[in-house]
């Protein structure tokens, strides 16, 4: 039976939140550095990347949020058999409220009818926590903070799309993604990272898209067709010239990550989850001895 000290785990979760909000992952920083080098000397794009990299460093050193919109807090938790989900949920809530007190998170949960802010970032569906059981003997908490600006430009298409001439195949998928990124311009804090969900129903399609964003920037899709499409999209989307913050430049998108789900014969959804450059995600593994490692 997996056991843990509740008070200690709450503090370990708080550290996970602090890392997510203030410390951009290494693979993302390296991707931004490479993009900066690729932009022309004296271009607005290069100068924007310079400011972005300075901000990333400042946030890390001072332990303050990289972006004031600390987003929807999305947890993906893997648990061994027998570990209770309600207790872990309560501990995540406790750590969340404390993170607001410590200014790692903004109070970001607003009652949709009254407009009242809950004040502690906890509300209906906030934070969002998804549990899955697995065979390993340790718990893994993955956390992503996804802000409202990029969530607002995220979108869903259903194929066929007559206006775009997009049919029910990978070529049709390609066309709607190009359209989505062109419509987004700099509004989602470009350069963005795309999580794409192909298939599923309305909601699982979006969930597939978002789950892709837990992948590393440098990984390769195990499905060779999708791997090819990811590379093609990355190259072609950067031809759009939107550039960082929409100021123009060679970098519109930093990465494309695609996943699929079986669909009904009648439905063909393509969901595009746009993530801003402030691509905040970290994970924590808790072993049976109560020790944690962060990534």
């Amino acid at each position: 039976m997996f056991q843990y000290d509740e008070k200690v785990l709450k503090d370990q979760l708080l550290e996970l939140i602090r890392l997510a909000a203030t410390d951009l992952p290494k693979d993302v920083v390296e991707s931004i550095q490479a993009a900066q080098q690729n932009e022309d000397e004296d271009s607005a794009a290069r100068s924007v990347f310079g400011m972005i990299l300075k901000n990333i460093e400042l946030a890390r050193v001072e332990s303050t949020p990289i972006c004031q919109d600390t987003g929807t807090n999305i947890y993906l938790v893997h648990i061994p058999e027998g570990v209770g989900m309600r207790k872990l949920t309560a501990l995540i809530h406790e750590a969340t409220a404390e993170a607001v007190d410590k200014s790692y998170l903004r109070p970001n949960a607003v009652d949709s009818l009254t407009g009242k802010n809950s004040g502690n970032n906890i509300g209906e569906g906030q934070p969002f926590i998804h549990f899955e059981e697995w065979d390993n003997d340790y718990i893994e908490f993955k956390l992503m903070l996804k802000g409202g600006g990029c969530e607002n430009v995220s979108t869903q298409y259903k194929l066929p799309d007559v206006g775009l001439g997009a049919g029910r195949d990978l070529d049709g998928v390609y066309k709607v993604i190009v359209d989505a990124v062109n419509q987004a311009q700099g509004l989602g804090c470009a350069p963005g990272i795309l999580g794409i969900g192909v298939g599923g129903d309305r909601s699982t399609s979006h969930l597939t898209a978002k789950s892709q964003l837990f992948r590393k920037m440098t990984d390769t899709n195990p499905n060779s067709d999708l791997a090819k499409m990811e590379s093609k999209l990355l190259a072609d989307l950067n031809e759009l010239g939107v550039g960082p913050m929409g100021f123009g430049g060679k970098t519109t998108i930093l990465g494309v990550k695609m996943g699929t789900m079986h669909r009904l014969p009648a439905s063909f959804f393509v969901s595009i989850s746009y993530m801003c450059w402030a691509y905040r995600r970290h994970s924590m593994i808790l072993n049976v001895k109560g020790e944690v490692t962060y990534d």
Binding site: N55, I66, R106, V178
Partner: protein
Amino acid sequence: MINLQLPISEAAIRELKMGDEVLISGLMVTARDAAHKYIHENWPDWLKPVMEDSMIYHCGPVVKQHEDGSWSFVAAGPTTSIREEPYEAAVMEYYKVRAVIGKGGMGAKTLEGLAKSGGVYLHAIGGLAASLAKSVVKVHDVYMLDELGVPEAFWHIEVKDFPAVVTMDSHGGSLHKAIKAKSDEVAKKLISE
């Protein structure tokens, strides 16, 4: 680099052109979604001295309250401006606001308003929250904190050397329009291939 000291005159704002890089110093106020809705429904007089010849910052900050009750900004980058498109031109004209600072740019209605009432759109870098919070040297006051909550309240702040770029000016220039026109062409080509 152009230094802008607030309050600022209409004439000085009309000299700015798309692409100018500026550093802003002085008193301005934050206002975002709920604040704009509130203004549009109430047009309060108390905002007049706060906004006249000053700037609105589209920002929902992370703030910290100190033991003596005073506040400081911890994280304060811009939020997406286009959501205020229905309101902004009217708000700027009514309160004689000389600029809005945000991200992503705004639409045709605001662009027309900038020409009419004398204003510019200033683009700050999205996600630059830690750096831009350093430019907020003092929180003078906060209005409607209880009603609107931390991100949506009117924060009356003093900034020093706050960096931004003019992306929409009072002469009809819009960088956002120009970039979109170019990317539309590329997208059309990619989609038709």
